[in-house]
Each structure stands twice: as structure tokens, then as C-alpha cells.
């Protein structure tokens, strides 16, 4: 296939891999973080790691919106979904994400009216068709899906739909990356930047990485050769002593982002003072809530929710995996008590989650690392 071959061509992949190897200092250990869960998926699915020298370690970042959602926010969603007047709309597998006392699928089985949608606009249509019911959309995602929620709310306001509201869990990508860079747990050398988030926010927000922390960043696409080329671009920067933001995915990512989407988000959302991230604790100004102009559509104001902070199950080590401190297979319950069929933690639910990706595509090649021997 013509264009797929261009981005998956094995010969070109081997040539890039050879160039990466040539830029690798055999005496040095490199830690590159792929921020986006989509990249994690591609790395495992296509065996990218197998093409890289042993000195290059890929560390999985916090860029899967379901994975970073704390259990308390799942419980809050369930509390709203259980209300008899509510039709609760959410994305499909969100129903399988475990709360402290079960998941949305179980609540649906007990009689709650929970409906799967592919877009917040589907939830808006349900609200139009059911004027005597309250429709609540459970919004999650980074800057890729936040514009769709913003646009939906703008349309709801324009139509004057009083029976529609949003339970907002949108998060932003830059603050958790900054938190990781400030963390003493992890020493990273460079970042593979999230491609599709960058179509919205552009490349400029990553300039703090080289400027404040001295870490290069390359915004990358999602095909295997995209990732290999991005890794090569990072290795060239490290080899030449350069440190800057580069855009490998220029065929779709404009440097300035999508100004219409940013304007829409600015009208509908404002930053929360702080928000809890699974495994990372509270991070300042890292999430979005509805602005005062859209307060009438805010489900958190319309309904009382428990708002309780719930700790992860003791056996669950999602937090350490999210921070890149542990590899998925180093978790105590990986592949045993926690599987995609029966997930204990969020990283095993989402196909972008590091554990699910590794369970599905990477298990044949993993090396068991004994505790205490990891570099």
C-alpha cells in the first residue's frame, strides 16, 4: 500500500535505526519519555523498542486521560449517574473504569440510564430528544477532546438547552510534564511530544522544556516511522548538544496550533486552581472547569457529588507506572489480578494505557527485572 508503506517501510526503519545507533553513546543511558498514550500504543504494537539500542529506554508518560483520572472522580460520576432523573452519557470504555465500589457498567446493570456516545454532540442530541430528562455528559480528555466539549456547550447555550450539563474532567498536558520534571524520582533526557494535542495547542507551550529544564522535545506523529524519526531527531539534538522544540509532525501540526479551538476553549473553560492526578497527587492549574459564563451547564454545581479523595487499591501500582518509575510488567498484579478483561487499575482499561498496550502487544519480549537491579 503506497502511503502506508512509506510510513511503515521496514528498510527505511532499519536505516533510521542504524542512524539512531550511530548517534548513541555506548557509555550513556538515555531516558526518553513519550508523553502521549497513543505513542505508547504504537511503540508496543509495532515493536519500536526492539529496533533501538539497549542504551535507549522509552519511559511512558501520563498522556492517557482515562489513566490519570483518580478513583474519586469516577465515584463522583457514578453518584450523578445513579440519580433517577439523569441520562448519563459517556464514552464507551469509560464504563469499565473501576470506582471504589464498582464501575458505570454495573450501575447501568442495576437500572441507571447510562448511554455510550462517541461524541459530546451525541449527548446534546439525546438532550434534545428527551426534554423531560436531565442529560449529563461525562467529559474527559486532554486538549484533543476539550474543543469538542467546548463546541458542544457553545451549541447548547445557543439553543438554550436547559436539560444538558457537563461533568468536566478535562486536563491539560503541560502541568503534569512540568511536575514530572520537578520530581526527584525520575531523570529524563528528552521528550517525544504529543502529536494531536499539539494540533490544538501548537508547539510553543513546550518551549519551557528546553528553556527551563534543558530538555529537548520533538512533537511526533503516530506511525512507526514517525516515532523512529522523532527519536533520531532527539538523539541528534543530544549528540550535537542542541536543546530545542522541533516538529516532526508538521504535515498536520501547525506551530501556532488551532486558534479557533483555543478561542472556543477560552470562552467555555477556566483553569481549576488544582486537580488530583492518579499517582501524581494534586497539580496546580492542571485541569479545566466550566467558566462562569457556562456555570448553568456545570453538573458539579447542579448536583451534589461526594467529592471524596479515594486511594487506589493497595496492590495497584498505576501511579508508579504513570510516572515512569515502574514498567508495566514490574507491577505486582500485572497480568494476574489485573488484566484487560478484569482491570484493577485504569492503565489496564484503556488501549492507550501502558499496561493494556504491553499486555496486548509486548508480552513476548519483556525482560523480567529483579527488584533493585534497575538502573
Amino acid at each position: 500500500m503506497k502511503y502506508v508503506d512509506e510510513f511503515r517501510n521496514a528498510e527505511i526503519a532499519r536505516a533510521i535505526a542504524a542512524e539512531i545507533a550511530a548517534k548513541t553513546d555506548p557509555q550513556r543511558h538515555y531516558k526518553l519519555m513519550e508523553v502521549c498514550g497513543g505513542h505508547t500504543h504504537t511503540i508496543y504494537r509495532h515493536g519500536i523498542k526492539d529496533l533501538l539500542p539497549d542504551q535507549i529506554e522509552l519511559v511512558h508518560g501520563p498522556g492517557c486521560p482515562v489513566c490519570v483520572l483518580p478513583m474519586g472522580r469516577v465515584d463522583d460520576g457514578i453518584a450523578v449517574a445513579e440519580r433517577p432523573e439523569v441520562i448519563f452519557a459517556c464514552f464507551g470504555d469509560m464504563m469499565r473504569v473501576p470506582g471504589s465500589k464498582g464501575n458505570l457498567l454495573e450501575v447501568k446493570a442495576e437500572g441507571a440510564d447510562i448511554r455510550m456516545v462517541y461524541s459530546p454532540l451525541d449527548a446534546l442530541r439525546i438532550a434534545r430528544e428527551n426534554p423531560d430528562r436531565e442529560v449529563v455528559f461525562y467529559a474527559i480528555g486532554f486538549e484533543t477532546t476539550a474543543p469538542s466539549t467546548a463546541l458542544t456547550l457553545q451549541r447548547a447555550k445557543k439553543e438554550g438547552l436547559g436539560n444538558f450539563s457537563v461533568f468536566c474532567n478535562h486536563v491539560t498536558i503541560v502541568p503534569p510534564v512540568r511536575a514530572l520534571l520537578d520530581s526527584p524520582d525520575l531523570r529524563l533526557d528528552a521528550f517525544i511530544g504529543p502529536g494531536h494535542v499539539s494540533t490544538v495547542i501548537g508547539c510553543r507551550p513546550y518551549e519551557f522544556m528546553p528553556e527551563d529544564y534543558g530538555k529537548p522535545c520533538v512533537v511526533a506523529g503516530f506511525e512507526p516511522l514517525d516515532l523512529l524519526q522523532s527519536i533520531l531527531m532527539l538523539m541528534r539534538q543530544l549528540d550535537e548538544g542542541r536543546c530545542e522544540v522541533e516538529n516532526q509532525y508538521s504535515r498536520i501540526v501547525p506551530w501556532e496550533g488551532n486558534l479557533a479551538a483555543l478561542k472556543s476553549m477560552a470562552e467555555v473553560f477556566e483553569l481549576r486552581p488544582y486537580f488530583e492526578w492518579r499517582g501524581m497527587g494534586f497539580i496546580a492549574q492542571s485541569a479545566l472547569k466550566l467558566s462562569d459564563a457556562y456555570a448553568d451547564f456545570d453538573a458539579e454545581l447542579r448536583y451534589s457529588v461526594p467529592g471524596v479523595r479515594v486511594a487506589d487499591p493497595k496492590a495497584c501500582q498505576c501511579g508508579e507506572v504513570l510516572k515512569g518509575v515502574l514498567k508495566p510488567w514490574e507491577c505486582k498484579v500485572f497480568g494476574t489480578a489485573c488484566t484487560p478483561e478484569h482491570p484493577l487499575g485504569t492503565l489496564m482499561v484503556s488501549s492507550e494505557g501502558a499496561c493494556a498496550a504491553y499486555y496486548n502487544f509486548g508480552r513476548k519480549s519483556f525482560e523480567k527485572v529483579e527488584v533493585g537491579t534497575r538502573p
Partner: protein, 85 residues
């Protein structure tokens, strides 16, 4: 009969390989027709759906859009080069 589309070989389609947990998968879709702020779009497998195109307006039939959660967030400048979510 073979369809005529720029996305014939696309990897990610509306019903395949998208992460439905959060709809946080970029799916390239080709614009078939436009109706107000929405456009009827088609994926590589021939699945059709309505997509909100307010954030990338104006669009023309034949253009390829990157969509997240039913909303187009970017135009693909070189349509044939985007094959993956």
C-alpha cells in the same frame, strides 16, 4: 466496486482501532458534503458520520480532517500522508 477516496489505505477508521475509552483517537475523515456547521465525512472503510467543522472552517468537499470526539480539530495539509490515529 472500488471506492474513490484519498483514505483507501488509512489505518484508523471510525469502527477500528480507535480508543473508545475517551474517544481520544484522531481519525482522518474525508469531507463528502457540507451542511451548515457540520459535514458528512467518510473514513477509509466507507463508514460515514456527521462531523462538526466549526473549528476548521471553511472546509470543502474532498478535504481531509483530523477528528476527535466527533469534532474536526485540524486539516491534514497533505492528505495522503496521514494514515494513523
Amino acid at each position: 466496486m472500488e471506492r474513490e477516496t484519498k483514505l483507501t489505505d488509512s489505518y484508523c477508521t471510525l469502527d477500528h482501532d480507535g480508543c473508545i475509552v475517551c474517544s481520544d483517537a484522531g481519525i482522518p475523515l474525508q469531507v463528502v458534503s457540507i451542511k451548515g456547521d457540520d459535514a458528512l465525512c467518510e473514513d477509509a472503510a466507507g463508514n460515514r458520520t456527521e462531523i462538526a467543522v466549526d473549528l476548521v472552517a471553511p472546509v470543502r468537499a474532498g478535504e481531509v480532517l483530523l477528528t476527535h470526539g466527533g469534532v474536526a480539530i485540524a486539516k491534514v495539509r497533505k492528505a495522503d500522508e496521514l494514515k494513523c490515529c
